[in-house]
């Protein structure tokens, strides 16, 4: 029987594509999770920039950062070109503007509100033929949902619609340093197709940034921990040496 391998969406981060045996299965919804300062936004932006450079329209929906500030974060990359923004190959969206447009300027969402929000995101992805999407952060959206069922419904619904459109999605999830599990509400991690955990690790007083692919549906992958460096040529990864490290997160 011939083996069936799913089409891959290469992240462009060579070390990560190697860990994933060629990239993320296209259409997967991946949780990028970790505490502050671990490189979640940087990794996600690089994923989008590479996609845009390869002709895949990319979209970044931001809850916390203004688009201008995001551009400033990207110009450090030697491979970034401002034309990606001006030519709309990479689109930066402020979620607050969507909330205003949809009349969702409230602290708590109903199930109906959730569906309206999902429909709007899906509509943008469809109309603009977006192939890579980052929502930064999913935690801040989930904060407005009143139950785990709503969170579950939101991520399931969104993931299904985006997958059907062939859009590979990163959902950025914020973790408290003391948190157990891989997500703030414990629901996100169960529904996502993949989990990439970013963290801090202490070894004899040194603090190392780490990356670990916890799960990724549709591909075999390494589950080992890697040390990462954020550089002007992008995220670089090296295997973590086994030296009695202590997880800090």
């Amino acid at each position: 029987m011939a083996s069936q391998t799913r089409e891959r969406c290469m992240t462009g981060i060579e070390g990560l594509d190697y860990i994933l045996n060629g990239g993320i299965p296209r259409g997967n919804t991946v949780l990028i999770t970790g505490s502050c300062g671990t490189g979640k936004t940087t990794l996600s932006l690089e994923f989008l920039v590479h996609g845009a450079l390869w002709g895949e329209r990319s979209m970044y929906i931001s809850v916390t950062e203004a688009p201008e500030k995001l551009v400033e974060n990207m110009i450090i990359y030697e491979f970034f070109d401002r034309k990606l923004i001006t030519e709309k190959k990479m689109i930066l969206v402020d979620l607050q503007e969507i909330y205003v447009k949809l009349g969702l300027e409230k602290l708590e969402f109903t199930l109906e509100d959730v569906n309206v929000l999902v429909s709007q995101i899906v509509k943008m992805v469809k109309e603009l033929d977006v192939k890579r999407l980052v929502i930064d952060s999913i935690t801040s959206i989930c904060y407005r949902l009143t139950s785990k069922e709503q969170i579950r419904e939101f991520i399931l619904h969104l993931g299904k619609e985006l997958s059907d459109l062939g859009c590979t999605t990163f959902l950025v999830s914020e973790l408290l340093p003391s948190a157990q599990g891989y997500s703030q509400y414990g629901v996100e991690e169960a529904i996502a197709d993949g989990i990439i955990l970013l963290g801090n690790m202490e070894r004899r007083g040194d603090l190392l940034r780490t990356l670990q692919v916890i799960k990724m549906r549709g591909t075999t992958h390494s589950r080992a921990k890697y040390v990462l460096d954020l550089t002007s040529i992008g995220v670089l990864l090296a295997p973590l040496l086994k030296g009695g490290s202590v997880e800090v997160r």
């Binding site: 070894r203 004899r204 007083g205 040194d206 190392l208 040390v227 990462l228 460096d229 550089t231 040529i233 670089l236 990864l237 090296a238 295997p239 973590l240 040496l241 086994k242 030296g243």
Partner: protein, 191 residues
């Protein structure tokens, strides 16, 4: 035979992607650097990525200038200056690592240089394994060198690991025998 000639001849014998454990005595140290950085690298048009864990990179540049060695193609991964109150110039020429114990970051900084100058042939020098052994347990150091040498091999880079004879313990020698392709003793007493 002069130290420089001996080292250059040995390096000439090795194909790219080879690793060499170079045991030098204190008196041969500067001649060894001249042989590698000035003569061999210049002759073969190599970029030199110099991992300094014994002497801060700025001081090595000073030494090179005194020896009349051109440093235009030398890039430093400096693991020691952060531990000292010395002035640091931040550029691709000088990449600093907080501590010689952050071995993964040594690999990452060298990989950064390899990627950035990927069209250049390179020589990576680790100076020295002895000072690395002061800060790191030999088990993790062996693991680091094994992965690092293997990675550099895939980049077709030459790798030279310097070891000062006076500070080379049997454990360090065993470790280098295991991870490198060849070895050379210059100056002092051969073992």
């Amino acid at each position: 035979m002069a130290v420089t000639t001996k080292i250059v001849e040995k390096m000439d014998e090795l194909p790219p992607a080879s690793s060499l454990a170079l045991y030098v005595d204190v008196n041969s140290y500067f001649d060894s650097l001249r042989a590698l950085v000035d003569i061999f690298a210049t002759k073969n048009d190599l970029y030199v990525f110099y991992i300094s864990s014994t002497i801060p990179s700025r001081n090595i540049v000073g030494i090179f200038e005194l020896l009349g060695i051109d440093t235009a193609r030398v890039f430093f991964v400096d693991t020691i200056s952060h531990l000292m109150p010395v002035e640091k110039e931040m550029s691709d020429k000088f990449l600093y690592i907080e501590s010689p114990t952050m071995l993964e970051n040594v690999m990452l900084k060298v990989e950064y240089l390899l990627r950035k100058y990927r069209n250049k042939k390179t020589l990576v020098i680790l100076d020295s394994v002895n000072s690395m052994a002061i800060h790191n347990d030999l088990k993790i150091l062996s693991e680091f060198l094994h992965i690092f040498v293997t990675t550099l091999r895939s980049w077709e880079a030459y790798m030279v690991i310097l070891s000062l004879q006076e500070q080379t313990t049997p454990e360090i020698r065993n470790m280098l025998n295991f991870v490198t392709d060849d070895s050379l003793e210059v100056g002092g007493v051969s073992q």
